[in-house]
Amino acid sequence: MGNLLHVLMQVTERDDWDEANLRPSAYQAISMLVQHAAPDCKPILLNLMPAILDRLTKSFTMNVLTNEDKDNKEGLQSLLCGLVQVLLQQMSGEEISQQQADAIMAALLEVFKTKNATAHEEAFMAAGALSDKLEANFERYMPSFGPVVMGGLRNFEAYQVTTVAVGVVGDLTRALEGRILPFCNDIVTALLESLQNANLNRSVKPHVLSCFGDIALAIGGSYEPYLQVTLMMLLQASQSRAPDDDEDMIDYVNTLREGILEAYTGIIQGLNDGKKVNLIQPYSEAIMGFLENLTHDQNIDDAVLSGAIGVLGDLSKCLGNQVPNVRKPFVQMLLQKGHNTGDQSTMELVNWTNENIKSLSF
């Protein structure tokens, strides 16, 4: 394999790899080459995966005598897990044999056994990438991986890990769809706990809220048992406001609102798929009230605006004539604001929502 990747792999094993940030630099170069590889480089990438896994496996038996050894070992595992992730992103599901998938998962699970937040983040992302490629076939790893995800969700001390774990739940819902159902009780419980934990970094919250939408989309009508409690959370979060002169808070509240709106969209569409959309009816007035508040808020950004228009469209499409207050002036104002952004996809959303509203009979 006489190529640049091979040389870079050798660089990471130079005797003086620990000087001048050499090893991370070399792995970052490899990672970027992998991410931007031309299609005809595929065979090389496929060869690289076993080599990386081999190194990851070898790292488990590295001797750790000093703190420095420990840092080095964990640093290396983070870099290697990161590479596994970018390599997986370049591969198709068919290119990953079951044997290789088994090997990848075995290695990642081993990483989770050590207490190391940074490597956990990278390993979660790698597992998420694998589930994305294997889709339903990822189910076979759930008995062992499920508890690991739960551990990540409850790792409140390292909120970055929590954030990534929440992201992995999203990946899993898309990969497994209905097959995630057996894990939903635990997952939703853990998510609710995290929302109620006062020590959790606030940046995790928007991800958690939007994750409810992912779950609902995956399990459809089976979301019913979680509906009331999660909607209470969403309605409560909808009350958050930022002072006009606090830009950090304004940004945060906007991300929070984006998460809330994604959750609404997921839940409405999920219930609709499961023919249970009428369950949302009792909450629709509160949701419309939220949309009305957003319309009159000067600080919302375009993502929130487009999310709000989407939820309006979902509600009118799925609930039809039962949408409350749809003739109130704010509805047209919201659509007008969306139209004024000039953004192509937002304008398409405006048109779609407008069609849904127009078709309502009175």
Binding site: L4, L8, Q10, S25, A26, Q28, A29, L33
Partner: protein, 440 residues
């Protein structure tokens, strides 16, 4: 010392708690006795006692000054400085003031309190004082300048402050000169809008210092220009975003470019061969490179004619110092000028730089690899297609054989090159080439 530690804390919450205890829970007569006693100790013949007293007074003053609880304090300190006291007492008193300014919560500080502090400091920095006194005063001034807005608004006071600082840059003691430039840096950072009347003097002083003073003083003089760049860059950004900045943009850097650039280029040739880049020790050449980089970001295109002649003339010089300096100068101006202006130079530089990866001098190789990394990051499209193989081969050739620093720079270059690859602009075969064919 015990008393100081009772009042001091690293953590803000604990600090507030301690300060509250002093304010509200120590009986007034006890406070008065402690205050009188500790002011006496500041005049002690024992250096350690004075020093400790100074720190303690600073902590107590930081609590009491904003609330006007200790009216005798500043009068007593001023007297130490102006009356017939030993030199050492004056130094300790000024150190105490400097430390107190650092510890003060300056918001809401009464104007006459600031005046009293400044009067004491300015008196200490007078040119007929001993250098040790002037140094302590200059440090105190540096720590107090940022809350002297009210005084800076008055032309007369501003002139006086400026005058004593400028005089201090001419002191025979290098520590005083260096501290004076730190004051000038503070001026540039906090009072950009008032600089106009003084700019010519400040520019001339700083240029002379950059050319001929000791390294640590020169570095501070360069820092003045770095600060001007930072301020002007911020103003330009704000103007571009349609904002109305607090000050109008005076383009000092642009105006001084023809004088500044030659001095910086000269300074670049004063490399410290034995400097360990991982040691965080700043030297003149590094400071000059930083200043050139900031200048290029601030003035963009127009820096190119001030730097490129030096680069073209020296990049193949027999003396490694000039080869390294011209490579560093070129690299420093890559970010700022538009591709239309710098692109043709980048295009021509590639074969020279690839060759320089095999330069006999380690520092030249290091800077060359860094330069290629920055080119791949900022102007990858200017790399001639036909040079591409050679470039990657050149980078790959140093990966295993050179020092970790050079190798890491080459990794950085490869990383940046790969990042720039876009399937849309005809580079699709690039990674394939890179991955398959090299090195042969």
């Amino acid at each position: 010392m015990y008393l100081k530690n009772i009042l001091f804390a690293k953590d803000d919450a604990v600090l507030e708690q301690n300060r509250d205890r002093w304010r509200n829970h120590v009986p007034n007569d006890v406070k008065q006795r402690i205050r009188a006693m500790i002011l006496d100790v500041l005049r002690s013949p024992q250096a350690v006692a004075r020093h400790t007293a100074g720190q303690t007074i600073a902590e107590m003053g930081a609590i009491d000054l904003p609330t006007l609880q200790w009216p005798e304090l500043l009068k007593s300190l001023l007297q130490n400085i102006t009356a017939e006291t030993p030199e050492a007492v004056k130094v300790s008193t000024l150190e105490c003031l400097g430390y107190m300014c650092e510890r003060l919560d300056y918001k809401g500080l009464k104007r006459d309190v600031v005046n009293e502090i400044l009067t004491a400091i300015v008196d200490g920095i007078r040119s007929d004082r001993a250098p040790t006194i002037r140094y302590a005063a200059a440090v105190a001034l540096r720590n107090s300048l940022f809350f002297c807005q009210g005084n800076m608004e008055e032309p007369q006071e501003r002139n006086m402050i400026m005058q004593v600082i400028c005089e201090a840059t001419q002191c025979e003691d290098a520590n005083v000169r260096s501290a004076a430039y730190e004051c000038i840096v503070q001026m540039a950072e906090h009072y950009y809008g008032y600089l106009n009347d003084y700019m010519e003097v400040l520019a001339n002083l700083s240029f002379a210092t950059m050319k001929g003073d000791q390294e640590k003083v020169s570095i501070q003089a360069i820092e003045f220009w770095n600060t001007l760049c930072d301020e002007e860059y911020e103003l330009i950004l704000e103007l571009e975003e349609g904002g109305t900045p607090q000050h109008s943009l005076q383009k000092y850097v642009e105006g001084a470019l023809h004088l500044l650039c030659p001095i910086l280029l000269e300074a670049l040739t004063k490399q410290d061969e034995d400097a360990d880049p991982d040691d965080d020790i700043w030297n003149l050449a590094m400071a000059a490179a930083t200043c050139l980089t900031l200048s290029a970001q601030t003035v963009e295109n127009i820096i190119v004619p001030h730097v490129m002649p030096f680069v073209l003339q020296n990049i193949k010089n027999d003396n490694w110092r000039f080869r390294e300096a011209s490579t560093m100068a070129f690299t420093s101006i890559l970010d700022g000028p538009k591709t239309e202006v710098i692109g043709s130079y980048v295009n021509q530089s590639i074969p020279v730089l690839i060759g320089a990866l095999r330069d006999p001098h380690a520092l030249v190789k290091d800077t060359t690899a860094w330069s290629l990394g920055r080119i791949c990051e900022l102007h990858a499209a200017c790399v001639p297609q036909e040079m591409f193989d050679d470039l990657v081969k050149g980078l790959a050739s140093v990966l295993l054989s050179e020092t970790p620093r050079v190798s890491a720079q080459a990794c950085f270059a490869i990383h940046n090159l790969a990042m720039q690859v876009r399937l849309s602009d005809g580079w699709s075969e690039v990674t394939a080439k890179v991955l398959y064919r090299l090195p042969t």
